[in-house]
């Protein structure tokens, strides 16, 4: 492990060319297609994309919790603290799960066992990794519940999950995830199932606790508003690929992939100009049962050129030249695009350059842009 180099934190997690497939009776689902990213110690990374784009699968694959037997890691490496998690045995992985990598799931209503008290579940987690007496583990559980803001932790420890509200259960999940001071916490849409008022509290809690303990965070969400305030860096995923990665500031200042531009324009903003329309992203995400050929976003992209249909662009720096930095505040801005939107086009949400016509779809490919022209006319 190298020491910190000029604002670039030491790498904790490195995912290389991760391939995940689901072999089902209906055929193969190409869920994750060569995803690669790095995460520094103490860094907070957002993973953004629409439902089914492979965000959750990527993270389940990292700790190898893909549903068996359909889900398989068919390639790539997951280097965590120098160890390749893909190669570890189940019992070696068990050591790492919970102790070094913890996970918070989307739905707190179903992620606690209904027949065990919170106490039993928390003590079980602690004792799974630490040689501790029941009394010690119990004291730690009380401390943790207090830390996540559950009133009367001594008393609430004896309660069953159904006696907690959704927000409180998510707090319990956070307490359990932090019980062993993991190096990495993966939060998979931690607030999606919660009321808006509770969402902010829970996010604030995750943010505060991970900062205090120096835990790295991967935050999965489809809500750009959530990642904006919570993360240092963002990966935008589409159809099992990372299409854009940048620091949070860069991504919002200069969104450079048509999909990111589309995401930002389809989200209502407080600072929007009056009369500024919300532009939806045309069409539907691709059928994940097809092996990807060209750029997966091509059918829905107004900036597409001929090459987009045949050749899938790889992640490359937006600004040519210079060293590629994968982590930290000076991380490079990378995009996977043949014809990236210019800054003023990104601002408007559609191509404005003279003479540009989205390249026609070749035989057998669906064109999802059919009604885009109509919308553009309406705006102009």
């Amino acid at each position: 492990m190298t020491a910190v180099r000029g604002g670039e934190p030491e790498t904790l997690l490195e995912v290389r060319d991760l391939l995940v497939r689901f072999r089902t009776h209906d055929g193969t689902i190409y869920a994750v297609n060569g995803v690669g990213f790095e995460l520094g110690r103490g860094e907070r990374l957002g993973l953004v994309g629409e439902s089914g784009c492979g965000k959750s699968v990527t993270n389940l694959a990292i700790i190898r919790l893909l549903p068996k037997p359909a889900g398989r890691i068919e390639g790539g490496q997951v280097l965590f603290d120098g160890q390749d998690l893909v190669k570890l045995s189940e019992s070696e992985l068990r050591e790492i799960r919970g102790r070094d990598i913890a996970m918070i799931f989307q739905d707190p209503m179903t992620s606690l066992n209904p027949v065990l008290t919170v106490e039993e579940q928390m003590i079980e987690t602690i004792q799974a990794h630490k040689k501790q007496s029941k009394t010690e583990a119990r004291a730690r559980a009380v401390e943790l519940l207090g830390m996540v803001g559950i009133p009367q932790p001594e008393k609430r420890l004896k309660a069953f999950p159904h006696q907690f509200s959704g927000g409180m259960r998510q707090r319990v999940m956070i307490a359990m995830a932090l019980a062993l001071q993991p190096k990495l916490m993966i939060a998979d849409e931690p607030t999606t199932a919660l009321d808006v008022t509770i969402q902010a509290q829970v996010l604030e809690l995750i943010s505060r606790l991970t900062t205090e303990t120096g835990t790295s965070l991967v935050l999965i969400t489809h809500d750009l508003g959530v990642v904006a305030g919570m993360t240092d860096r963002i990966n935008v995923m589409y159809a099992g690929f990372i299409v854009e990665t940048a620091t949070t500031g860069d991504l919002f200042d200069l969104p450079s992939h048509p999909y990111t531009v589309g995401l930002l324009h389809s989200m209502p903003r407080v600072d929007a100009k009056e009369g500024e329309p919300l532009i939806p992203i045309e069409g539907r995400p691709p059928d994940m049962r097809r092996e990807p050929t060209g750029c997966p976003f091509a059918p829905r992209c107004a900036w597409r050129v001929e090459a987009c249909w045949s050749e899938n662009p790889s992640l490359a720096p937006l600004a040519a030249g210079g060293r590629i930095v994968m982590t930290g505040p000076s991380a490079s801005h990378l995009i996977a695009c043949h014809n990236p939107p210019l800054p003023d086009e990104a601002e408007l949400g559609r191509p404005t350059r003279k003479g540009h016509v989205p390249a026609a779809a070749p035989e057998g490919e669906s064109d999802e842009l059919a009604s885009l022209a109509a919308i553009a006319d309406g705006v102009a």
Binding site: P69, R94, D107, T110, S111, N113
Partner: protein
Amino acid sequence: MAVATKTSPIADSRASRGLWTDAAYRLMRNGPAVLGLCLIVLFVSVAVFAPLLAPYGPLEGSLVDRLQPPDLSHLMGTDMQGRDEYSRVLYGAQVSLVAGVSSVIMGLTIGGSIGALAGGLGGRVDTVLMRFVDVLLAIPGILLAIGIVAWLGRGLPQIMFAVAMTNAPIFARILRGSLLSLRESDYVTASRSVGASGRRLLLRHMLPNSLTPLIVAATLALATAIIDVAGLGFLGLGPPDPRTPEWGTMLTDSTKFLREAPWLLLFPGAAIVISAVGFNLLGDGLRESLDPRMKR
């Protein structure tokens, strides 16, 4: 996300006190289930207190008194050997209760182990065990029981084992099914994500959560077990001692006197029906109260 917006399953304002307390509360408000429970209490207490309730011993009687119609001294008349039918029906409850309960417990042990292994381990073990279960399920229950008794010989333990083997595949399937669905549930994934071992997942997280359908199935199986035991007795595969007061055997013995003494068929038959109906009603009630979604 439907889970997040799910309202409380209990319609009234009473606060929830846990799964079992709630279930017991719902059970007590279910008329048929309470009736079933009453019938079972009657059945069990008759079996337990038979020596106190019966005016005569089950084997007592003289041929002089044979085939007497019901009167005050013999409430259900006497059989072809002059034994008091009422006393024999009461003692018969003992045989049925012991045979029924033991065979269901035996079936639960066998079927439960198979189901837990198959559902917990999955893969090839699952395939092999479940094909074996499929084979057992393909044979009609009573035929399988007859085969086993014919193979092992007559006797109460053999009968219990035979009836257990007709129930075991059903239990195995139910347990395996619920284990499989639990294996992909969020809280099992969550427990795996904190490093719980496979054994711990199965014993502490999955098994306790898969017990409710098994409890219901076991209650319903008690009803069929009692009928099966009586059925074996009726077919002449009852306990080896022909004097044993077993309801099925009593039915067979009395068929020869159908014209002279029809009450000899009526009373043991009614006893079988009452106990079986009791367990059926309770089983249905349990199903409804343990799974509130079943209720309309």
